[in-house]
């Protein structure tokens, strides 16, 4: 008689399970009910039903398997082991009971015992089958492969995986969904991702009701950074079994980048099913680490260590916390513990690299990635991370080499592919240098943007160097992308981020105005914001917290230009009205783990306002003092006491009192006054033009100067509007600022207007006025080549001809 088989993928598919349906109906009620409860995720009932079935000897053998599975699904690992030990001698030959017992032992960190149990399971299964291996054999091999890999015994893991592949990819090939799944998992372990994907796709086709097949495919895509598709697969699995904790955790990991709050909620849902689910606790800790809340992360970590003191990933996360808490002794002790479990565990350094990247410590991230690769030379994702971080440090060659290596070995890695594709477009970019910058602009907009970008960068450098009493060494790299997806790929290797600019310390990347709706983006303020990061990150060796870095950037934007740095005020006013402003100790979460989408802009504005408040109350020197503290790795609460003489609670109280005095209320209705619009909205192009028109009509030197300022500011919103350049050029000529007029006329030519002849002629005329006859002649001839009858140009040519 063929036994009904329960499969559990306890490690790759944490606590997920798949029940293969019986071919023959089973009559006895308690067992049947237990099976149904197990399938529905009602583990409490399943345990009671299986216990009854065992007592009544109703399919007792299979009921015992079900009981162990239900214990595992609810984190009752010790009970699973005790139950297995208490089963009658007649069950000693059941390979599944040994396998499940091994699963429980592994969950508790008893790895040597787990290995013995898995080996026994394999021996028992092999002894029972003749000819083709049974599913129990395959699963025992999978368990052993996972365990060996987990302990850093790669060769043994590969041998088990190859054994499964050899057995299942022979002449007959896989026959059932479970066999496809076993083969897919083994192929994935052997880094044969393409084949693994195809096989797992076949597993889904063979049994569309198999949650485990969807989960396994989901994990494959998750591993390859295709989070949206992975999320779809996990959701499919949850449609089949809404209690599949493997799917809940997988979905949480898929959402981790975009929606940390949802990821945390999914973890909590999984923990409600299994309160000792290591993966859920680890992910919660990870989310807290991302929010730079290491103390809280340690609390989550400790929970796991209570039942599994040898939890590898958990130990690695603990080491990460100690690293960022600047506790080298604890960090070293923790890394030793990790090495004791798995001496080849490169992932520890991969995690350190990842979180160093989050903290903008790219040099350290590069170093950690190299350590990860040294320990795990086949950790291809570390090559990709290394490549991306080298690019962030301006090392294009090193970046490309490592990304190429990652992609060659793992063509599914979308981050590597996207970034390499972007690097292949480098010939489409124009590079120029200024005193302190090396700038890359897309060829199609370089001629228009270059003069304004160059001017603003050097202006900002002078202003910020004076302010922060620090001069970042040249060159600082600046890259502007006319396609938002390219900017996103350059930043994270993946499209789909909401930000418009990013700073990696010595490299700034951002959207160019072409990438955005020209009505809601001010590229000038964005550039100033990112450049401020260059100063604050470099002066503290990238050690300041996110809120302070963003706050200073917003504050400096606001100081740089009227209306700049105001785009987040609306969200802040709403949060203020709802009394949902964050305390300073929680402010980082507002950026990386927001509870609502609006919390991000509100946190930006709040951080800027905090810096403004410190400046007003204590003076800018204290801000410099705080930066110095951070450079010396002093924690925020201590830094505030040292420099401002207040605790964080006292500071919060003072700050919120200050905010109350500002009488901030959202405007009752939208204003139409252009002056007010410019003050309150940094990207209102039309308001700048309207006000400039009023100034031009008014006339007189001060009004004309104001008009020039307004139109110049409008170019930071939309530099592609020919009429603005024409008017500016005319006003500059009127003011005898011929060089500035020439700059505008050159830009008009670069815009390739319909009337090119006039554009060349206007430039020629201005050059002639400036006394640059040689270039004037070149330009006027260009005009005449387009329009030989252009009489004004003809006259100018004659004037330029001896």
């Amino acid at each position: 008689m063929k036994a009904k088989i329960f499969l559990i993928f306890i490690f790759l598919l944490p606590a997920g399970f798949m029940v293969e349906r019986t071919r023959k109906a089973v009559a006895s009620a308690p067992f049947q009910q237990g099976e149904a409860s197990l399938r529905q995720g009602d583990f409490k009932s399943a345990i009671a039903d299986f216990e009854k079935a065992i007592a009544k000897n109703d399919n007792a053998g299979r009921a015992r398997q079900g009981l162990l599975l239900a214990y595992m699904e609810t984190g009752r690992y010790e009970e699973a082991i005790r139950a297995a030990e208490g089963f009658p001698a007649t069950e000693a030959a059941n390979p599944w009971l040994s396998a499940y017992r091994g699963d429980a032992e592994r969950r508790l960190g008893r790895y040597a015992e787990a290995e013995i149990s898995f080996k026994r399971s394999l021996e028992l299964a092999q002894g029972q089958m003749a000819g083709r291996d049974s599913q129990a054999v395959m699963d025992a091999r999978l368990r052993l492969a996972d365990l060996y890999a987990f302990r850093g015994r790669a060769q043994e893991a590969d041998a088990q995986s190859r054994e499964v592949v050899t057995r299942l990819s022979g002449q007959e090939g896989p026959r059932t969904a479970a066999e496809y799944l076993a083969l897919g998992r083994s192929l994935r372990r052997l880094a044969l991702y393409h084949e693994a994907n195809e096989t797992l796709r076949a597993a889904v086709a063979a049994d569309p009701e198999s949650a485990a097949a969807f989960i396994e495919r989901g994990r494959l895509f998750l591993e390859k950074y295709d989070h949206p598709y992975a999320a779809e697969l996990f959701q499919q699995a949850l449609k089949i079994n809404r209690h599949a904790t493997g799917a809940l955790i997988g979905l949480a990991e898929s959402k981790r980048v975009d929606n940390g709050a949802e990821a945390a909620e999914l973890c909590r849902r999984a923990l409600a099913i299994n309160p000792r689910l290591e993966e859920a606790q680890n992910l919660l800790a990870t989310l807290l680490i991302e929010a730079e809340d290491y103390t809280e992360a340690l609390v989550e970590i400790e929970k796991v260590l209570q039942w599994n003191p040898h939890a590898l990933e958990t130990r690695a996360l603990r080491a990460v916390c100690y690293y960022f808490l600047n506790q080298p002794k604890n960090f070293n002790a923790e890394t030793e513990k990790v090495r004791a479990i798995n001496s080849q565990y490169g992932r520890l350094y991969h995690l350190l690299a990842e979180f160093s990247g989050y903290r903008a410590r790219y040099a350290q991230a590069v170093e950690f990635s190299r350590q990860a690769i040294a320990r795990s030379p086949d950790l291809w994702s570390s090559y990709a991370a290394l490549g991306i971080n080298l690019l962030r440090l301006g090392d294009a060659r090193g970046g490309r080499e490592n990304l190429a290596m990652a992609f060659a070995k793992d063509p599914f890695d979308v981050r590597a592919k996207n970034t390499l594709d972007l690097l292949d477009t480098v010939s489409q970019y124009h590079e120029f240098t200024t005193e302190h910058f090396r700038v890359q602009l897309h060829q199609r907009e370089a001629a228009v943007l270059q003069p304004y970008v160059a001017d603003l960068l050097e202006k900002a450098y002078r202003a910020l160097a004076l302010r922060f009493r620090f001069q970042p060494p040249a060159p600082i790299f600046v890259e502007m992308y006319p396609n938002h997806a390219d900017f996103a790929v350059r930043t994270f290797g993946l499209p789909g981020i909401a930000a418009s600019g990013a700073c990696f310390g010595k490299v700034v990347v951002m959207d160019s105005p072409s990438a955005k709706d020209l009505k809601d983006f001010n590229w000038g303020s964005t550039l100033w914001h990112e450049l401020t990061h260059v100063f604050t990150l470099q002066s503290t060796e990238n050690r300041l917290p996110r809120w302070f870095s963003e706050g200073l950037s917003v504050f400096e934007e606001q100081r740089a230009h009227e209306g700049w740095g105001t785009s987040f005020k609306k969200a802040f006013l709403k949060a203020f009205a709802q009394k949902s402003l964050l305390k300073l100790k929680d402010l980082n979460r507002g950026f990386v783990r927001p509870q609502t989408p609006e919390q991000v802009p509100a946190s930006y504005h709040q951080a800027g306002l905090i810096c403004d408040y410190i400046d007003r109350r204590y003076g800018f020197d204290r801000i410099l003092g705080l930066l110095e503290q951070y450079r010396n790795q002093v924690p925020t609460d201590q830094a505030f006491k040292n420099i401002l003489g207040v605790s964080l609670e006292e500071f919060d109280a003072d700050f919120f009192k200050y905010v109350d005095t500002l009488k901030l209320v959202p405007p009752e209705k939208a204003t139409e006054d252009p002056e007010e619009l410019i003050r309150t909205s940094e990207a209102n192009f039309e308001a700048h033009l309207k006000l400039a028109e009023v100034q031009v009509k008014q006339g007189g030197a001060p009004a004309i100067r104001r008009a020039i300022d307004l139109l110049s500011a409008a170019l930071y919103i939309n530099p592609f509007e020919q009429k603005v350049h024409e008017t500016l050029a005319g006003l500059f000529m009127q003011q005898n600022q011929v060089d500035e007029a020439i700059r505008e006329y050159r830009v008009i030519v670069a815009l390739t207007p319909v009337d090119m002849a006039k554009a060349h002629y206007d430039l020629a005329h201005a050059l002639h006025v400036r006394g640059n006859k040689k270039e004037a002649r070149i330009e006027v001839l260009k005009a005449l080549e387009i329009a030989p009858k252009f009489e004004s140009a003809q006259e100018l040519l004659l004037n330029l001809t001896p």
Binding site: L711, E726, D755, A757, P788, S792, L798
Partner: protein, 357 residues
Amino acid sequence: MGSASCQTPGVMLEMTKSIAVRVALRLLWITVAALSVSPAPALDFARPQKHAVLIGSAGGDAVYSKKHWELLSGMHRVLTEKMDFAPEQIYLLFEDASRDPKIIGARSTKVEVEKLFRALATKLGGEDLLFVLIIGHGTYDGEVSKINLPGPDITDGDLALMVKMVKAKYRVIVNATSASGEFVKTLSGHNTVVITATKSGWEKTDTRFPKFFVEAFETAESDANKDDMVSLAEAYEYAVRKVEQAFKNEGMLVTEHALLEDRGHGPGQHTLEGQSAAGALARRLNLGGAAASAGVTDPQLKRLFAERREVENRIAALKARKSEMAAVQYQTEFESLAVQLAKLSRQIRQASGKKEP
């Protein structure tokens, strides 16, 4: 003024004045102009008859009806005020014939459109030009393209038959409706310029093209070669650029791509190459204005004009050979000719008592 449609009214102030000056100058020259042969050689329709047919589709609602009317009446005004069309040479058909009976000839039904083309077939011939502009809504079902008129629609095939009845030497058909791209295939022919607002029948959204096409005849900006006449190619290129800018400014994907076809065959082109066959006829054709040499009787001036035409022709020939020449040689020869041309223009101005530009 036409380009006052720009979204930057403050900035437009200066431009508007400059356009006004240029338009005034052009009108001044027209008053002294008479028929002559253009050297380069722009075709001049001051004498041969030119007839314009302006058709508005069914609006569908008040907003579109108003918009269509503004464009059609605007084109009517341009033709009479700037292009020297006599009012009786313009046939305006609109869905609501009572909107302005002074200029609307009939309701824009299929019957009336057919009647009009039958009448024109008896009138035009020789060197005459027929200009047709259609504004409004069009549709395409994957097989047949239509202009939506009050009552039965007109298909592309219907329009082709009607237009081809008229034996004018030159036909200029501008179908600026949505989904108009399919009309290129059926309307193209010898000495015919076909312009459509879209590249196919599948571009079905309301078109921006007609607004800028009409505007092209009102602004000096469209006169790319500075001959004080807006050729059909210049008007087309102006409208295409403005449509692109409008979509860009609105932060929207471009949903229409106009086509021009004037070779008598082919699918039409969105971008016109400078010296390529596509657009060659459209560069020579314009709806009005006249060369400065028209009506000159003074022998000295006639000689100067002749000399200037000769230099203009040599420049045109030189430009045609540019790709075959060494850059330095081309530049040297071009500079020499450009200076000669400039001197002749100065002499003509002085001889005719005009001020410096």
